[in-house]
Amino acid sequence: MKPLLQISDLYVSIAGNSILNGLNLTINKGEVHAIMGPNGSGKSTLANVIAGREEYKIESGSILYKGRDLFEMEVDERALDGIFLAFQYPVEIPGVSNSNFLKSTINVHRVHQGLPELNALEMLKYVRSKMKSLEMDPDLLKRSLNDGFSGGEKKRNEILQMLLLEPTLAILDETDSGLDIDALRIVADGVNQLKSSERSFIVVTHYQRLLAYIIPDFVHVLSNGKIVATGDKSLALKLEEEGYDWIKESPAIPA
């Protein structure tokens, strides 16, 4: 089976500072990978590079997605082909209504898949049903996109988009940070709803807490821009107990 995502010897810098230093990661269909690591280790950079953020400079290495060179694909093309990033800090866009935004994105995906666009009524029904499962206030649809949303509302709005767009590869960039335990459970339920043998997840997190709800197949530790340890969910527990210091002394553990 061909891997869904294959990152090989990836070097990435921003403004002259190298962030990723020879990163290797292979993700197969249906797998959940957790990526943990200290601040500044390159976790968010990895998430943003996969989504296509332009301010990062790819120095060398490659990423293959479904066997295609990811760097040849535009940001929107990646999204249409199933890559979804739930942002750590979702941007507020005053003047763009949440409902119009969701409608446009859902329909652009449907058209890409050769499906007819949803009309206003079908759209409302579809969006409302997913909002209900995330216990979101339907009034958030009338507001501007993320504008004045609380931290928890923003994160749920990200998960809502993930549920609506049904990506093949979903990347959650610290979606759990700052959430109380109830919100965390709702977000995790959202992810678990989507889990299937055809869909993979990269869960970037600081905390083991989330991984009690979203059970990872692999836990990777990122340090200094490369993966220095890989294990199963017990690795997350060990990190929670012992911190990251022990990682720095031990050589990379192969997956």
């Binding site: 332009e54 535009e74 929107d76 941007v91 763009v96 935004f101 446009s104």
Partner: protein
Amino acid sequence: MTEQENIVDHLDILFRNLEAGLNGLSGSAMHQFQLKSFEDLKSVQFPDKKHEDWRYTSVQKLIAPKYKLAEHIPAYSIPTIPEMDSYVIPVINGKVALTDLGPGLASLGLKIIPLYEAFENAEWKDIFGNYLSASIPTSNRAFELLNFAFNTNGFFLSIPKNTIVDLPIEIRIVHDEAEISFSHPLFFIHCGQGSQVELIERFEYNRESKNPSAEALINSIGYLHLEKNAIVRHIKWQELSTTHNLVYKLFVTQQRDSRFETFAFDHGGLLTRNNVEVELDDQNTYTSLHGGFLATGQQTMDHQTRINHKAPQCESHELYKGIIDDQASAAFNGKVLVHKDAQKTNAFQQNDTLVLSKFALMNSKPQLEIFADDVKCSHGATIGQLDEKALFYLMSRGLPAGKAKHMLKKAFIAEVLNKVPNENMRNYISSQMGIGE
């Protein structure tokens, strides 16, 4: 001859032609005013870029000796606003077509008369006439004086005390002429105590014009006087052809407890110069000025605003937002003056611009001059590009770059457009500006 002498010489010939066609009105009060205005005009220079209020946009090419006075055209065509009922006042090539008015306004008790009659009218003289005759000619007023000298058929509208005008009054200002020409629309509106009205000024090109590429200058002036407690909402929409230039002035005076709001949107034209001046004569007034514009190609859009807080407890808000692209340029020069006696003034002023091309130019100068000591005032300006983070966010959801940029531009203007109180106008403007759904 100097350039100024050339201009005066040319205007002299036009003025004599105008006088020859007056048909018995040559002794009228209006013609005396035209004569005086023309003499005043000759005594001042048209403003150049050395003038503080004209420094960002050169109007020299607008005043070259090349125009003829636009003549009567029998018909015009501009789109009706979908689903909007209104009282239409057509002003074609500077001349109000009073015979085309329906009976609606008169049945509400509103009086509308041509300007030459207004000059004999006690109400008009009392409010506007005295004010005009006391104004000193300056170079800043050159376009006004040009208008007064060459306006042939403006109008005066009087809205009686406590009258609520049930439909918007839609003033359609159209210019169409085969040769290089100018026209000088002029109106005066007296809004009686406790009256309430929505005024729409539409500057649009004639859709059936046989001469869409003929160069033109539309030099338009409107005077509004709000009596105590009057409420006026004003919408200006400009979609002229790309060979038309507009010098626009709206002059508003507000009496105690009155409320004035304006929403101005510019999309067409080659050079547009907007001047809005508001005099707050008495206490507890409310004023808000909103503007939105989209300048592309070679367009220039210059906004000048002045709010004169002369009395205490008045509140004013200003928000102008524009997007400029290609080689277009724009300016915002807003001045809020708070006089010594205008205590407890609240005045807020903001100008935000998106500059989308490296060849586009924006000048922004929000100004506050405060002579009172107990006021709340603020002013600010931002000039920037589309937010890259927002663009990335939208594209990361599958929206193509073009669509994502469109959404952001639309969102930027939406902050002012969404405030337009008339839904039909709001929809029409957003669709004409290409930022509709």
